[in-house]
Amino acid sequence: MDKILLEIKGVSKNFGGFTALDGVSIAIAGGERFGLIGPNGSGKTTLINCVAGSLRNDAGSIVFDGEEMSRLPAYQRTRRGIARSFQIPRPFASMSVLENLMVPLEYVAHRGLVVTGKTEAQAQDEAMAILRDIGLAGKAAAPSNRLSQVELRKLELARAMAARPRLLISDEAMAGLSSNEVSEVLEILFKLNAAGITIIMIEHIMQAVMKFSRRVVCLDAGQIICEGTPAEIVANVGVQMAYLGA
């Protein structure tokens, strides 16, 4: 197996009196396709927020490529190669689809003290290439607040891709999509992984998770209740109970 890219060790997060994450530990290898499942409120998005830096973990460590991330602000983690999409899409609504992608391109891939006219043109080209890859090229100039649901989801992924990540966290990118649309998004994720990007997929759509992931972890009430291959997870009684209720 490849080297460990992301090591989450004993991560805990509290909100007031409520414990959202309780000593979660996961190790993810480079190039892996990793699935994260669990009922609503189990802490999946909180965990993602802690990894990406939108939240600070109260305890534990998050080591990415040998470097401790817990103290770093989110933008620094993105610059080191962690990208995420949002469960409820958050496009930069005042900008076009293309401009949405230029932000991560200019602030991560091409960052430097002075971004010149040349880099702007290059960023535009790269943005167009990503849009073509993902099937949104026709909408490049469209205002991002006028997209359909699946287009918004694709934009979320495209924007994460524009940060040229080594680790991409996809947070329920397929929720509410038709089965055709789910296949479209799945195909994009497979392609990204084939290109070498490690992917953590959070999903409720079991078919997608099982098809995509090589390993799956199930979270419930802030703790890991099961870890293994898709087949093992599905057969696990604890997982079944977590989803169906005790």
């Binding site: 989110a74 993105t78 610059r79 990208a83 930069f92 991560p104 960052r111 971004v115 940060a163």
Partner: protein, 311 residues
């Protein structure tokens, strides 16, 4: 290129006017209008581009004015140096205030800016070297050649400042910096996760905004030959700087210019014909009406009309 041609034209007109027009009243009025263009443009860098409302324009403006005045009193420094010093001090204030409060939500920043005005005004009120509450008289040096009238010189200087301010705002807006600022405004969390150093950019915008406001205030003491706290830290500057972009349009660099010119004109007309209180009422009503009914300001309205008429 079109921008620089227009800007050059505007500045040339200002210089020509200074050479030809005799009636000094126009230059007093023009100076005031141009000053509000600077303040409105500066305000919009933080308010329009990033989405943080600043009620404390008088603090930055006033600090710039007092920096210039005190510098002049202490060293008889030339205007150019006064302006630079004023910009530096107010920029520093913007930096410090931004660092302290821009990590919080917009409303907290807004209230903190009100606090800045009160605190700085209180400090100046108790500073005898700067004249305290009674104020400071300043003796104008003669105008530098080729200007014969001090006011005309200030007018042309303010025109140059206005062009500079708009150019800076335009550059920020169209560059990757502006894109980052808009990303923060649209969704700060997504911006942060896209690699945008949100706090740094916000503080940068606040620093630039503050510096420009300081520069806008630097020539005030020489304009009046006098400076005192109550009128320097006047609420009108806060209102003008905020209402001009909100009415003119916050999305681009022209909105604050249009808004400032419009509001200054309205201000002159209403104050002279009715009363200065009525002027504030008119501005307040305009502000509410535009904010509710025409959120994209006059620029937005113009855009809508041209779009629908071209069909």
């Amino acid at each position: 290129m079109k921008f620089w041609a227009s800007a050059g034209l505007v500045f040339s007109l200002a210089v020509i006017a200074a050479a030809i027009v005799k009636n000094e009243y126009y230059f007093f009025a023009g100076y005031t209008v141009l000053m509000f263009v600077v303040l409105a443009t500066a305000w919009n860098i933080l308010g329009g581009y990033v989405g943080y409302v600043n009620f404390g324009t008088p603090a930055f403006f006033g600090l710039g004015a007092y920096t210039a005045a005190v510098l002049f009193k202490a060293t008889a420094a030339p205007l150019a140096l006064q302006i630079l010093a004023a910009a530096a001090m107010s920029g520093l204030l913007g930096f410090a205030a931004g660092l302290l409060t821009l990590r919080l939500r917009g409303i907290f920043f807004a209230i903190a800016t009100i606090a800045l005005v009160v605190i700085i005004e209180t400090l100046i009120n108790n500073w005898r070297y700067a004249g305290g509450a009674t104020g400071l008289q300043l003796l104008r040096p003669p105008p530098t050649a080729p200007f014969e009238s001090y006011v005309k010189m200030l007018f042309v200087l303010m025109a140059a400042l206005a062009v500079a301010a708009v150019a800076i705002a335009r550059y920020i807006e169209r560059s990757w910096i502006g894109r980052g600022l808009r990303a923060i405004r649209d969704s700060e969390e997504a911006a942060e996760c896209s690699g945008v150093p949100t706090l740094r950019l916000k503080v940068f915008a606040c620093t630039v905004s503050g510096a420009l406001m300081g520069a806008g205030g630097a020539t005030m003491p020489m304009y009046l030959s006098f400076i005192e706290p109550a009128s320097t830290f006047n609420l009108n500057y806060a209102i003008g700087a905020l209402a001009s972009p909100m009415i003119g349009g916050t999305a681009g660099y022209l909105g604050p210019v249009i808004g400032a010119i419009l509001l200054s004109t309205v201000q002159q007309v209403v104050t002279v014909t009715i009363s200065s209180e009525m002027n504030v009422m008119v501005v307040g009503v305009l502000l509410v009406v535009f904010v509710v009914a025409a959120p994209e300001g006059i620029l937005g309205l113009i855009r809508k009309w041209t779009r629908s008429s071209s069909r």
